[in-house]
Structures are given as C-alpha cells and as structure tokens.
C-alpha cells in the first residue's frame, strides 16, 4: 500500500535486507559467546535470589566461584550440584556461596544431569509463561485504554515514594509507569538487592522494587479499571538478569538496547551485544515489549541532520529483535522529537519523520520520546513544546507516548509535573483525536520530501553498515556522533567464548518456543 508519504517501498526493502545482514552477523558473534551476566541470569531463572551478608548477590557469588565453568555454561554443573545435594536452587546457591560445595566440570557429559537440567528448564520457562498468562488475563479483563499508551516515569530514588507517585499518575491517566534507574546502576556488574530508598536521578532496579511496584500497579489497575503496564530497564552490565527479573516479576515493558549502552554508558560492545541476544530471547518469551534507544542519538547529534541515523538504527534493532523471537507488537522502536523548537517549520519536519516511522514500521508500537535536549528552565515554554509533541504524536498515530515534562531541564519530575503533563497530553490528544485522519499531505511538498530524504540517507547509511559491520560503524561514530572501539568500554572481562560443550538448557528451550533465528551462522 502506498502511504501518505509516497515513500519508495523498494528502498525500505533494501534497508530491511541490509539490517538483517547486520543482525545476522551480530547474532552469530553473540552465539559464540556467553557472559557472566547471562550465566547469572540463568541462575536467576532457576530461582536463585538474594544476597549474602556482605550484600553481594548470590548469583554473583556462585558465578565468581565457578568462573572457570562459564565457558561451558553454569547450568549443568549447578543442576548437578542440586541433584547431588538434593536441595533446591536457592539452597544450592547458598551452599556454594558459603564454600560448602563446589561446582565441577564433570556435569557436562552426564545424561542424568542433562535430563534433570531439562526438567529445571521446563520449570523455569513455565514460571515465565505463568506471568504471561496472568498478564493476558488482566489485559483481557481490564483492557488498557486508547493508544498511544501514555508512559510516565517515576524516579524519586525511593521506591515507596515512587509508588505514591505512580498511583497518582494512574489516576491522571497514565497507562505505563516506568521506574528510572539510579545514575550509576547500569555500570554495576550486579543487581542490587532489596527495596531501596536512596538513588540519584532514579530508583535502583531490584527484584524487590519490581515486586513492590508491580503490586502497587495491580491495585491501581483494579481501581482504574484498566491494566497499567510496568516498565524498567533491561540494559547496562546486567542486561540479561534484568530481562529475567522483568519476565518473572511481570514487567510489561523494558528498555533494551545494546547500542544505547555502548554509546551512552560506554559499555563494551562485545559484552552488551552478547547480553542482548539472551535478553531479547527472554523478553520474547515473557511477552514483554522492548523499547529501543535511538531517540537518544538526537541528544548528542543534531536532530535535523541526523534523523536518518535514527531510522537506520531502527531497522537494525528491528532485525535483531525479530531474529531473537520478538514479535512486531513487542518492538517499541525509539524515536524522538528533538529539534530545536525555534527551527522554522520544526513541526512540519517532525510530523514528516514521525509519520515516516509509523509507515515504515506499521506493526511496531514505536516509543515516541518528547523534547529533552531543547527543554530549558522556562517551564511555560517547555509545556508548549510538550504540547506540540503530543500533537504530532496523535496526528501520526504513535503507539507508546512518553510524556514530556515541563521541568525536564531541572529535576526528575515532581508529583504534579506528571499530572499536569498527563492532563495537557490528554487534552491535546482528545482535541486532535482524528486530525490525522482528516488531512493528507501535499504531493511533493515539504512533508513528503523530508520523509523521502531521511529514508534515502538512512538507506545509504545502513547499506554501509551492512558492508563494514556494526563494530566498524560504531567505531566510525555513525550513531549519536559517538565513537566506540570493540575493545573499549566496561565489561569486556565478563565475556567468554563458549566452549564446544557449552550448554544452557533454559536458553535452548526458550529458543524452541519463540521463532529464534539467531544462532545459525549458515542460514
């Protein structure tokens, strides 16, 4: 179908093919590796929780103690230990952590261990499935309201204050609550434990905090008569573990994008691309919508000049997601309205781009991000910038709408900042509900031309990435005007090339259940 923008369908096809090549080689690379976090995530899937008395999570203790076993995968040795001691995963992990037992290599060849591990894998996967069916029931029963889903963040640092804020937001119409993480958490190579009441620029993501907020939102959902989604981050050095915690604690949405970590957190690309493959597999099974981070590129690069880098990256993220088994409805590709609002015809250009993303990825929800970079201390101006954003969003039929805050340039939002934002957004979206249906774009005009131009430049870029490979593209600074080398950044020490006998039955089972198309390098 020819869309409103008269885009070149052949070009789009070319982009998809190139992106798929990129994704294939990334997944081939990842398939040959595992990471400490993937192994810890596997333990978490088996049910290991909590920390020792020094605050170090048990899963970290276990993996540290058995670091030599990482290339072969932790699961079989761990399963063997469980069998041997007749204890459950938690007890086993404790025992290992205490030094009471040690994991050993001889598990890999044992048929009984493998069978037992398969059984544990089935249980783990069943646990994920249970959250999926709970969510589906709730969604069925309650619905979740009109699109775009209104998404707001809470971030006081204190999970209990966050709960209060979240409930206030739900009353005001929020459909997704995201708990932003504390500034440094993505660089931690462990997941903190317990509920937390202190954070900087966000609240720590912990399993306990997930539970607290999930329960609060379930209550709020009931009161509001609509299912409210919970969002957090499967990113940073613990990306795979976060994905697991999300899946088991019934989070509904997770920001998940290795490219973001590479470019904006200086996380090593080998590490996080490997982690991401596992994470997306888990999220695919968990029915989680992932959100990617292309929107962020426009905070460091110019939004007018670099619009095509966002599109190119979306193609790549789409391909990576599809190959990991995510369905299009689970792929919330990030984009953003980040042009200087004083740019003449800013709204014309943004509308073109937003509509373009919509036409190119018709089955993805798309996560549309509000102005951030050009927000200032002038809250009145900012509130209008956000209103224009809401307008473009509803006119271009976005799926997930992250609410802009007039106080963006100052602080993580105050309680009424969110309410005012929700009220304004709902007003604008209501007022313009069918505006998008009532207009068409002048053929060959500024809007069509802008979209066509961005697509053309994206095609060029993505073909060059397909040629040179993603590592090369990242080194060249093609995205976000940031350059990163394959050996640079944090976490490389946690990457291991898999041994020939590497085994991870949970991963294998998950791959069977979703349409995984990543492992094979000779497709």
């Amino acid at each position: 179908m020819k869309g409103m923008l008269d885009l070149d369908l052949e070009q789009i096809l070319r982009c998809r093919k190139a992106a798929d090549l990129v994704a294939k080689s990334v997944l081939a690379f990842a398939g040959e590796r595992t990471t400490v976090s993937i192994e810890r995530a596997t333990l978490r899937l088996l049910g290991v929780e909590g920390a020792d008395d020094t605050g170090v999570p048990l899963v970290n203790r276990v993996v540290e103690k058995a670091i030599h076993l990482v290339p072969g995968g932790i699961m079989l040795p761990f399963a063997k230990a469980m069998m041997d001691t007749g204890s459950n995963a938690q007890e086993t992990a404790l025992a290992i952590s205490n030094g009471q037992i040690e994991l050993c290599e001889d598990a890999y060849q044992s048929k009984t261990v493998i069978d037992y591990a398969d059984h544990l894998a089935a249980e783990a996967v069943a646990r994920i499935h249970k959250t999926v069916s709970t969510r589906n029931e709730l969604l069925e029963r309650l619905g979740e309201g009109q699109r775009p889903l209104l998404y707001v963040i809470v971030a006081s640092g204190n999970i209990f204050e966050d709960v209060v804020s979240a409930k206030v937001c739900v009353d005001a119409g929020a459909q997704v609550i995201a708990v932003i993480r504390s500034t440094a958490q993505s660089l931690l190579d462990y997941v903190p434990e317990g509920t937390t009441t202190e954070g900087y620029g966000g609240t720590y993501a912990t399993q306990a905090n997930f539970r607290v907020m999930r329960q609060a939102l379930d209550e709020a959902s009931k009161e509001a008569g609509r299912y409210v989604r919970l969002c957090n981050y499967a990113s940073g050095l613990c990306m795979p573990e976060m994905a697991v915690l999300g899946a088991v604690e019934r989070l509904d949405m997770m920001l998940n994008d290795a490219l973001y970590g590479i470019l904006f957190r200086d996380i090593n690309m080998q590490r996080t691309l490997t982690d991401q493959a596992f994470s997306r597999l888990v999220s695919a099974a968990g029915g989680i919508i992932i959100n990617t981070g292309e929107d962020n590129y426009l905070t460091t690069a110019d939004a007018v000049e670099s619009a095509h880098t966002v599109l190119a990256s979306q193609f790549i993220n789409e391909a990576l997601a599809l190959r990991c088994g995510l369905k299009p409805w689970q792929i919330g590709l990030g984009h953003a309205m980040e042009m200087d609002p004083d740019t003449e015809d800013m709204l014309v250009l943004e509308l073109a781009q937003a509509k373009m993303a919509r036409e190119i990825f018709p089955d993805c929800p798309l996560k549309y991000m509000p102005p951030t970079k050009h927000m200032t201390g002038d809250i009145f101006k900012g509130h209008v910038q956000d209103a224009l954003f809401s307008l473009v969003s509803v006119m271009s039929d976005q799926g997930i709408h992250l609410l802009g805050m007039m106080t963006e340039a100052m602080h993580t939002p105050h309680i009424h900042d969110r309410v005012l934002a929700l009220q304004a957004t709902r007003m604008v979206m209501g007022a313009a509900r069918h505006l998008g249906d009532e207009i068409s774009f002048v053929p060959g005009g500024r809007i069509q031309k802008r979209a066509q131009e961005v697509l053309a430049k994206a095609t060029e870029l993505i073909c060059s990435v397909a040629d040179g490979g993603i590592f090369n593209a990242l080194e060249k600074g093609h995205f976000a005007d940031v350059s990163r080398g394959p050996e640079s950044g944090r976490g490389l020490e946690g990457v291991y090339v898999k041994a020939a006998w590497y085994s991870n039955p949970i991963e294998d089972l998950l791959k069977k259940q979703v349409e995984w198309r990543g492992a094979s390098n000779n497709e």
């Binding site: 201390g377 809250i379 602080h411 309680i415």
Partner: protein
Amino acid sequence: MNSKQSDKAKMAPNVDPHAVLPYGDTLNDGLVQVSFSLPVALSPEATEAAKRTCIQMGLKEPSVYHQADLGHGFSYYIVYGKLTKPVDFARIVVPKLQETVASFDEINDRIKRKLGRRIVVIGACTGSDAHTVGIDAIMNMKGYKGEYGLERYPQFEAHNLGSQVPNEVLLRRAIELKADAILVSQIVTQKDVHLSNLAELADMLEAQGLRERVVLVCGGPRINHEIALELGYDAGFGAGSSPTQVASFVADEVIRRH
C-alpha cells in the same frame, strides 16, 4: 478550578498533620515553584535579587532555573526553592455552608411542604459589571452543567435583572417584588471593585431595615463563603457553583426564617 473535594482527613502516607509542607517528590522536601518579574534589567545582581526575593519568602536554596530580560528595565524569573516553615493543618477550621445539597425535586417539595408558597428570588450582576454568564448559570432555565437554573423550579419565582444593574435599582425591584432572596453576581475584581460593590448593597439593605427578612447571597469566581460572611452576606458561592447548591441553600434559609 477543579472542585473534586475529598474529606479533610485524607493525607499522604506518614504526614504529620501538625506540620504540613509542600511536596515535590519526597515527603517534607518543601518544594515550591515561583515566578515573578522584577523592575530591574537582567544582570548578575538582578539574578541575585531574584534569589533574595525568594529567600524573603522563606525558601531555602532557591534555584533560578530561568531568567529573561524583558527590556525597559524589567526581568523575569522562574525559581524553585524549599519552604521550611510548615502549616499546622490539624488546627485549620474553615466556615462552611451547612447545607446538604438536595435535588431539584426535593427542593421543590420541601418548599411546598414547609413554606406553602413560591420563593421570590431576584438576581443581578451589579454595578458596571456586564458578566452575566455566572448569574445566568444559576438562574436561567437552561441552567449549568446539566442542572436546571432557578427559573425552571416551579417553587421559585425567579427574576434575573441581567447585567450592569445599579444597587439602587436592584434594591428597588427587590422591594417591589417582595423578594425573599437577592442573588448578586460580581465578576470583575480588579482593584477589589467587587468588594466595595457588595458591601454597599449589604449596607443599603440594612439601612432599609430589610436585612433580616431578605436572604442575601453573592457569587463569582473570586467569592467564597468566608468572604461573603465578612461582607455581611448569608452565603457566598465561588467558581464552579451549581444551581442546586444555591437553590438548596436559599430554600433552607428562607424556610428557616419563616
């Protein structure tokens, strides 16, 4: 003006009712947003003056997040700061209309039963004020937000004199019609012109010896019950008031006095 009113008792978790402070994102953080202009051009000293202005207001750590020179010796500021002086919420008592708001039918019924005749009501927007939408909302047939106005009540005889009615004319008509209640609307409030207008009418009514007999009610966006009492009125209705609220009060009060 959102008038969804919850009961006084309800508070956020862990609040000390004797020491309530503004809330930003953490209990007792005291966060307040402030904006104003200063009649000095923007300069580092002017910014400092803006901060000190906020310190005068008892705000700790004022952050000037936005400042702009407006030209001609003016500058504008948006500041956030932390208030540290709490309010003793538990001890606040506010005079309230005691009415229980009845429905259209209940009110008519009550008047019929307890008074046995129609209540004569006269209303106007007085002085030079020409804003009739408010008084019309209360009095006209079509009413307001889905509620009928007094003219539609069989048990009210309602006379709406419209806008720009001098107090003298209003009073004269009230006497002619033997009004049980006078409803006055005042919308323009610049330089507190509404207060003097309203006070004048109350005085005139008193001077005529009618104050006891006539229920005197005022309304408008800057009116509230407390102000009305101070001005010598029986009740005051603010923004978002509805016809039944007014009808309820007037009916009960007229009945009470007979």
